[in-house]
């Protein structure tokens, strides 16, 4: 039953990049503020209208600190009455959409702002030395586990062993995603890419090659949500949040219940689709976290687009490329567009732009329903959002 408090997305914005670095000169919080302002203004709102603030970041000390919403709220000069700093890795923002949706339905806030910013590339701050060797990581880091790629490589190895998946199968994903990036003027990598290029790229952590891995870039993005009722007065085309789900199963890859099956995606996806009342055939477009090619393959299977073990066949023959039967990662994804540490924000922004028919050359014609699925940690967490043209 509709009561006007159905959650909708009314604004999105992201920061321009050049060679994967911020173009505008600003601090990491400055970029967060700039995209936040752009997203609320796109919605016909002001930052002072925001009463719900959600953010997550790999913002340690030194840096903006660990109280992410508090730090950002202060910088923005707002005093939110609903906050969520849930951090489950790259899928955090899909979970934030879910939490904001619940807060909006409940009347706990009226305008929710979800923000992410990272200047990891400009700062060269990406930590290549592995996770600190404390608590559960004392049993992983000292063995020289390459993080995060090693965990994904172990899952890929297991999937290959159990189901006969090949490096060519994984390369299909990287190549199809690059073709979408070639249609996106904002994407970082737009040069042509072939399956052979992927297979002959440097082996990083067997069986994953360099071109099975996402980019390392800066990036900032923001999403504004409000209720269907409030959106009526705004100068924007709302996109409805129809369903959502979240789950996590482990932190260290050694604790993953089944390395060839992505349980968080299965749990989150089932719940989100049931809530939205949609089936797989209703989905026109999917945006799936592509930290590594294997992440996509495992997600597609767990979300039920194909059977477990059949992901290799599913992506073969460039089915997910422009013009293919299954439009996926239409911005060029984390593999070719941008990957500022936590990419889930940008999956959502792309889906919203597609559903508003604003995606230019890469527009998926007639797209009405999108499934967005984020993965975080070491295949640890998953969160799904179903978005629909209103």
């Amino acid at each position: 039953m509709k009561n006007g408090r159905e959650p909708v997305v009314v604004g999105v914005a992201d920061a321009p990049l050049e060679d994967g670095k911020f173009v505008t000169k600003a601090s990491v919080l400055g970029h967060a503020a700039l995209v936040a302002k752009a997203a609320v203004e796109e919605a016909g709102l002001k930052l002072s209208d925001v009463d719900g603030l959600l953010t997550a970041g790999m913002w340690g000390v030194p840096g903006p600190g660990q109280l992410a919403t508090v730090t950002l709220g202060e910088y923005l000069g707002i005093m939110p009455i609903f906050v969520d700093g849930t951090n489950i890795g790259g899928s955090a923002f899909e979970a934030h959409v879910a939490h904001a949706a619940m807060a909006l339905r409940e009347g706990y806030c009226e305008v929710a702002l979800i923000v992410y910013s990272s200047d990891q590339k400009s700062l060269r701050s990406r930590n290549l030395g592995g996770r600190p060797s404390v608590l559960s990581m004392q049993h992983e880091t000292p063995f020289g586990m390459p993080t995060p790629v090693g965990g994904y490589a172990m899952a890929a190895q297991r999937h290959m062993h159990e189901y006969g998946t090949t490096s060519e199968n994984l390369a299909e994903i990287a190549v199809a995603t690059r073709k979408w990036a070639q249609l996106n003027p904002e994407a970082t990598r737009r040069d042509p890419l072939s399956i052979d290029d992927v297979l002959s790229s440097t082996m990083i952590s067997e069986p994953l090659h360099l071109l099975d891995c996402c980019l390392v870039t800066d990036g900032a993005g923001a999403i504004v949500m409000t209720t269907a009722e409030r959106a009526k007065d705004l100068n924007t085309r709302p996109v409805a949040v129809k369903g959502y789900g979240e789950a996590h199963t482990h932190w260290a890859i050694g604790e993953m219940p089944d390395l060839a099956r992505l349980l968080p995606a299965q749990k989150a996806g089932e719940r989100a689709m049931k809530m939205a009342g949609v089936s797989h055939s209703d989905i026109d477009l999917v945006e799936i976290y592509d930290s590594f090619t294997i992440t996509v393959l495992l997600s597609l299977e767990a979300l039920g687009f194909c059977k477990i073990g059949e992901g290799g066949d599913f992506v073969s023959g460039q089915r997910t490329a422009p013009g293919g039967a299954f439009p996926m990662n239409t911005s060029g994804g984390g593999l070719s567009a941008l990957h500022p540490g936590m990419f889930g924000m940008f999956l959502l922004i792309e889906a919203v732009r597609q559903l508003r028919d604003e995606a230019g050359e890469r527009q998926v014609k007639g797209a009405e329903t999108a499934l967005v699925h984020g993965t975080g940690g070491t295949l640890s967490s998953g969160a799904t959002v179903i978005l629909q043209k209103d």
């Binding site: 060797s133 004392q138 069986p207």
Partner: protein, 134 residues
Amino acid sequence: MSTEKPLPVIDHDSTPYWEAARQGRLDIPLCGDCGKHHFYPRSVCPHCHSDNLDFDTVSGRGEVHTFTIARRPAGPAFADDVPYVVALIELEEGPRMMSRIQTGDPEKVHIGAKVEVTFVKANDEVTFPYFKLT
């Protein structure tokens, strides 16, 4: 960046495990209620949530559940080791643990390969349980 290899920060949960490794034994927690082993050591059993736990010396035998050959090191500290094999070992007793396979030929490692623990001393406090193919 430091080129010294990271050592475990040993805590109250893990002290008996590392102490046993130093003495050449693989000791992991065994639950007095559900009878299952677990790894890494916790204060509450992850299977049945009992706190009736004791350390038990296990066989040190198992098989490779999955692995990766690191062609790029996990930071400069591991640069001299490349290529090296990080593997998830499934112990005969059930639990899985991350370790290294000690081998001159990484290509010989495969899923399902039988392995056995071997202890490699890092310093006076820390000895690592590595595994070798059998």
